[in-house]
Symmetry: C2
């Protein structure tokens, strides 16, 4: 039995700092759980001078990743540098040396996950990535272990804190996207370049990982439909409220007939839904299993210490495996590697949903009948219409909520309607999750 577990940390940024603080600060607690000391042996970063508010023993911090990869006393390598090429190299090099790996890198796993899972399974090393989705929320463990007995029927995730912060502020204060984004950037809740967050790409990365774990299918980021929050307006948020809905940027997966839907887009959900109340930078993931029913996991989806908590939970799990000679006991993607099967991801136009459509029309008689005529010809039936305040000759919103329809029919209708002369701007479409009544 090993007398200690050695940890090497690559990437001493926001998450790395949290990890170091936890490993050093909760050292005694971790030892009481694991049985032997879990020691931070070395930290690698390009910048070894910046004061990060953590005091490491002299000589621990270096720029040379070889001092981790080639050190036999290091059992677990933490890849916390982010990005693609360098991160992948660290992970694969560490695995090639028989080391266990923990990463928080969702972009890397979403894009190169198969290669990394394959390497981990082949070498029978552990790959921990609890920190890649939902920060400190133990959602990867829920998918790979806690709900492992279930066929996962659906996933609804608020999995990007920046977008949720912006949407929450837009909802509570009625401000526009750009104003709130600027404010979020000043407050440190949004990056200088927020594209990955607000365009839904980060959510799509995380959804891809969850879909892979839930269904035993290879990660397929490119096939996830991705739409962000940049075009949402306070007007739509207000209408949503009137219909009893809250707008959230959701990652959605649904399983039926041997196929899966995987999509990220702004979604109206009933304001009574447990995830509708999730405000600010918090994340929440609602999982439905065939046995367990609905489960919601809620917490801080980012940040130094919450994400660090997830990284160290993986370190502890792997330490427990190392001490019992059981690395690889849970295969990296939860399913046995030879039991993973490509599932068809449904094309977006095949999905069915309820739809919120906001038409901006020149207010004159007959407009509603022309719009509803087109919808009707495409087999779309209307559940309600909202047309407030008539202003003949001016542009006014007409809002239509549909019954269950297919995306293909809705898009075809909008292409037709948006060419009509009384339409003053492209129609806004927001998908609605809820029960058709």
């Amino acid at each position: 039995m090993k007398a200690r577990i050695g940890v090497g940390l690559v990437g001493f940024g926001t998450v790395g700092i949290g990890v170091a603080k936890i490993l050093l600060g909760n050292r005694a607690l971790i030892q009481r759980r694991v049985g032997v000391p879990v020691e931070l042996v070395r930290v690698v970063d390009l910048d070894i001078t910046r004061d990060r508010g953590v005091s490491l023993p002299p000589g621990m911090l270096t720029t040379d990743v070889g001092q981790i990869l080639d050190d036999p006393s290091i059992d677990i390598v933490l890849e916390l540098i982010g990005g693609y090429d360098a991160a992948k190299r660290v992970i694969l090099d560490a695995m090639a040396r028989g080391k266990q790996v923990v990463t928080a890198n969702k972009a890397l796993l979403a894009v190169h996950g198969e290669e990394i899972f394959e390497a981990a399974a082949r070498r029978r090393v552990d790959l921990g990535f609890e920190a890649s989705v939902g920060g400190g929320i133990p959602v990867i463990r829920a998918l790979t272990e806690g709900l492992a007995a279930n066929t996962i029927l659906s996933i609804y995730g608020i999995i990007n804190g920046t977008s949720n912060y912006i949407l929450s502020r837009m909802t509570s204060e009625g401000q526009g996207f750009k104003e709130v984004l600027a404010e979020a950037q000043r407050a440190g809740y949004a990056e200088a370049d927020p594209t990955f967050d607000v365009a839904g790409v980060d959510s799509a990365h995380k959804l891809s990982i969850m879909v892979s774990l839930a269904y035993g299918t290879p990660v397929n980021f490119k096939e996830v439909y991705t739409e962000g929050i940049t075009r949402l307006t306070p007007l739509d948020i207000t209408y949503a409220k009137e219909f009893g809905y809250t707008i959230k940027l959701l990652g959605i997966a649904k399983f039926s007939d041997g196929e899966v839907e995987a999509r990220v887009h702004p979604t109206m959900i009933p304001s009574t839904s447990p995830v509708a109340h999730v405000e600010g930078i918090y994340n929440a993931i609602q999982l439905a299993g065939d046995a367990v029913g609905d489960i919601v996991l809620y917490g801080q989806g980012a940040g130094s210490m919450p994400t660090g908590s997830a990284v160290v939970s993986d370190v502890i799990a792997i330490a427990r495996n190392l001490l019992t000679g059981a690395t690889g006991r849970v295969p990296p993607a939860s399913f046995q590697q030879d039991q993973r099967r490509p599932l068809r991801i449904r094309q977006m136009e095949e999905i069915v949903s309820l739809y919120y459509l906001r038409f901006m029309v020149l207010d004159r008689p007959g407009v509603l009948s022309q719009i509803s005529g087109v919808l009707g010809r495409h087999g779309i039936s209307i559940s309600s219409v909202l047309q407030q305040g008539r202003k003949e000759g001016q542009t006014v919103p007409v809002v239509i909520m549909t019954h269950t329809s297919t995306e293909r029919d809705v898009q075809a209708s909008l292409r037709e309607i948006d060419r009509m002369p009384f339409i003053s701007e492209p129609t806004t479409l927001i998908r609605v999750e809820g029960h058709d009544e």
Copy 2:
């Protein structure tokens, strides 16, 4: 490597039926995750004739527990009979034969947990009990693995579905406890004898288990202060709403200064709190960790399939351990057995809290000043007073919310006040969790 994992089920009641359905129905899925078949080999119950809606192969169901204990092809024994003596015997006998054990029996673990944990650690067998708290919610795994890097600062749990159902109905419909209980019994949400549920005992069992896992301290059910919901009135629920609070039966644990509080009682929590929205039979557990911050886990806290999901998640985890020779990799109480230390559980009179006090007084001049005088002499300061509608000479409620006070001072005040001639019934005290302002 074993070619299959054999499972023996003792107790074919509500949970046992769910477990059998999942093991049989999701057999292929479970095999894809584990790598080998996980087979239900034998089911034991006193009643082998009742139709339970699950078709077992002929001969699988027997009344003889020896057919499980003495069968070398059975690796994992599921104790789902409930109660104390017989259940404990099955668990210890199974462990003595080197078998792994899964149980859903919170009462047994709360009362005899130490003996069972000790036996599991000594024989280095696995003991799974995810199903003992929160039904299908993976909260045991969160405490033992997902948040293992954290010092747990607090636990707030809605962990009894029957009580939460009754409170939710009382809150939404303004009915009294007895009416709603009778209705819950008719609807199957409350047992014929609901004492364990409504008196808080079941919540105290579950809280004891969580405290033990969070703090590495022996289970200490007897020291958990326990108060149920039987004396709550619609009047207090209405007042709570006016102050912005919702009343929930909570299991609360808090850690500070090397000691822990552990108590179950009706509690006013801010209506904006994430657990305030938890309605009906749902459970939710809010865990605060020093690194992760607040996490909430939400789901169905009882029922055949949700609880079955938790049992089978343990079966899968143990199967993965068996296949890698790693049983005992996570010690039963998450902390190494020799690293568990008795923590002092604070006496109830030592706790500090905010308090809601409803006095029923004969309405006459000077009453409020006498009450506030007593409180003041005990060092209790008042944050607000509600006294609606004066009816001189009649009995009226006077509601006082206090600033942070100690239980000892509040109880001493009430003993004094309740002897005063203008007090017409014992004063109602409800503890309030929130920020002192």
